[in-house]
Amino acid sequence: MRDPLPPPAPPASPSAGALLAANWPILLGLALLALVPTVASALDNPFYIRLFTRAVIFAMVAVSLNFVLGFGGLVSLMHASLFGVGAYVVAILAHHDYESTTLFGFAGADDLAISIPLAILASALVAGLSGLVSLRTSGSYFIMITLAFNQMLYYFFVALQQYGGEDGLQILGNLHFAGLQITQRVTFFYVTLGVLAVLLLLFARLVQSRFGVILRATAQNERRVVALGVPPLRYKLAAFVISGAVAGLAGALWATGQGFVSPSDLSWVRSGDYVVMAVLGGMARVWGPVFGALLFVLLEAFLPSWTDFWQLPFGLVVILIVVFLRGGLVDLLGSGTSGKGERT
């Protein structure tokens, strides 16, 4: 693909000190997360490991969503379904492996080295097809179409009676990664944390790359990008596919960790939750949504113990944040970097 934009001048490589100053919240956050299993075992409360595994996996989705949302200006309301496709691929392959049946003539798999790449591929494919339809339309249509596709995939899995339908699908049998046992609770937590760290690095690189520059420019002023001779559609589509693939990866890990998938993982409300996580954390930073996901999962876990009606305060918080706090939690952390007008 010939590209009329000159390569951007390589950014003056920032000193280690500057990098630390700009990114200390996430470095601290990841370091603290790494202590979770230790603290949980000290408190003799393995529930926390489960809880933070959930947070880390949701963080992956929120970060991948923010790649198209915060940097591409695309409000996708179908990331729960992309997540769900990844999750179901792992679960369905495990199901066929356990039952020793075939799917379209292929055997199932309990090896995650096979099923996770397939899950990523399936989610990327779904994202690509839905992107082809939805990205040709403008902003507001895009939101509603992604919401419709989310609902379509939700109904699809509800209707798949052979895979449990509305009740969901239990993964029986032993999942492993090329023979390695990774599903043990603590091991699996560190696996997900490692994956999240790698994803953050990759997305940070991607945002700074030529591709990322064009994506951000498209979000700010698509017409100018077109005037520069860059066709924005293929960049947006590529970004959407990448984002969908990562959501699929997160879903695959979710299915592995839970040993269970259900259509409720694909509900459109969950898609809305991911948007809330991204905004809550702060969209101007690649890692902002990690904090949104952490806060969301903690609220979701602990608010119900105070009140049965936890969605009421949560909804009010969301409304208040939209009205008053435009830069997300990152603003509160005082890193003072989210006001640069990176997004529209």
């Binding site: 249509y141 939101i143 509603m144 419709a148 699809f156 209707a159 948007v275 009421l312 009010l316």
Partner: protein
């Protein structure tokens, strides 16, 4: 398919279609005039059903309950617009999605708080509880026929208002070019407030009429909201005519899809229809904005 079943399913399809139209009419105008995405429109559908159920309990009369619940939903809609949504006209679509998403959570929990999580029963009105013989051997519930008739009447009324009155002219002007309409002296804000309240009333009406057929419960507005969004997108944002045609199309296609196709495919067919139409016409069938 034997003719009796065909007629019955066609009526079911049109009945779903008119209900979708009642939902989409407000949605598409709000969207067209103020460029506001209102995900909480489904909450008004739910509110309508709960108001009606409460008023039936209070008054014992379905018609009286309807007469009370419709203005109640309109007032709720007007309040929603006045207190929250009015601040969000100029804001990004993302902010609108977030704030209306927050409203859904709040409304759902408020309903849980007041009515509990158990679905509320809503009796079919006495005089519509029977069924009507369409032709030899085909009987159809009178209540569903009534829904169909009310929906078509409302559609006709809307057509007259929107196409043949001055207010309607303002609405159309606002939907096709808000800035120009405003410059020409139309009080777009006022028109919009009225449209929002009327749209809320129609969504509420759809919810009330669905009450005796489906369960009156928390979250009942969300599946139909998403169908209404599909209708809005297919019909073309801001177009009442588009919403009507798209609503009937979605109603009929969805009903027959579920009867004729295997379930996994039948539940997806309307969304595929949407994808095909949008691939062909990215701005819907009847685009209002040139």
């Amino acid at each position: 398919m034997d003719p009796g079943l065909f007629v019955e399913q066609s009526l079911n399809g049109v009945q779903l279609g008119v209900q979708l139209f009642l939902m989409s009419a407000g949605l598409t105008l709000v969207f067209g005039i103020m460029n506001l995405i209102n995900l909480a429109h489904g909450s008004l559908y739910m509110a309508g059903a709960f108001f009606a159920a409460a008023f039936i309990k209070l008054t014992g009369s379905f018609m009286l309950a309807l007469a009370l619940a419709i203005p109640a939903t309109a007032i709720l809609g007007a309040l929603m617009e006045l207190v929250v949504l009015r601040r969000f006209y100029g804001r990004s679509h993302l902010d609108q999605v977030l704030v209306t998403f927050g409203l859904i959570l709040v409304f759902n929990d408020l309903v849980r708080l007041v009515w509990g999580v158990v679905p509320v029963a809503m009796p079919t009105p006495e005089f519509l509880s029977g069924s009507v013989t369409i032709f030899e051997g085909v009987r159809y519930p009178a209540f569903r026929l009534a829904i169909l008739a009310v929906g078509l009447l409302v559609a006709l009324g809307l057509y007259v208002v929107v196409v043949h009155t001055r207010t309607g002219m303002w609405i159309r002007a606002g939907a096709s070019n808000r800035a120009m309409a405003s410059a020409l002296g139309v009080d777009v804000q006022l028109v919009f407030g009225l449209v929002f309240a009327a749209g809320a009333a129609l969504a509420g009406l759809a919810g009330m009429m669905a009450g005796p057929i489906t369960a009156v419960q928390v979250g009942m507005g969300e599946p139909i909201l998403i169908l209404a969004l599909v209708v809005t997108v297919i019909g073309g944002i801001g177009s009442i005519r588009g919403a009507f045609i798209a609503a009937l199309m979605i109603g009929v296609v969805d009903t027959f899809g579920r009867v004729l196709l295997p379930p996994a495919l039948g539940s997806m067919v309307i969304f595929m229809l949407m994808a095909v139409i949008l691939a062909w016409r990215p701005k819907g069938l009847f685009p209002v904005h040139a």
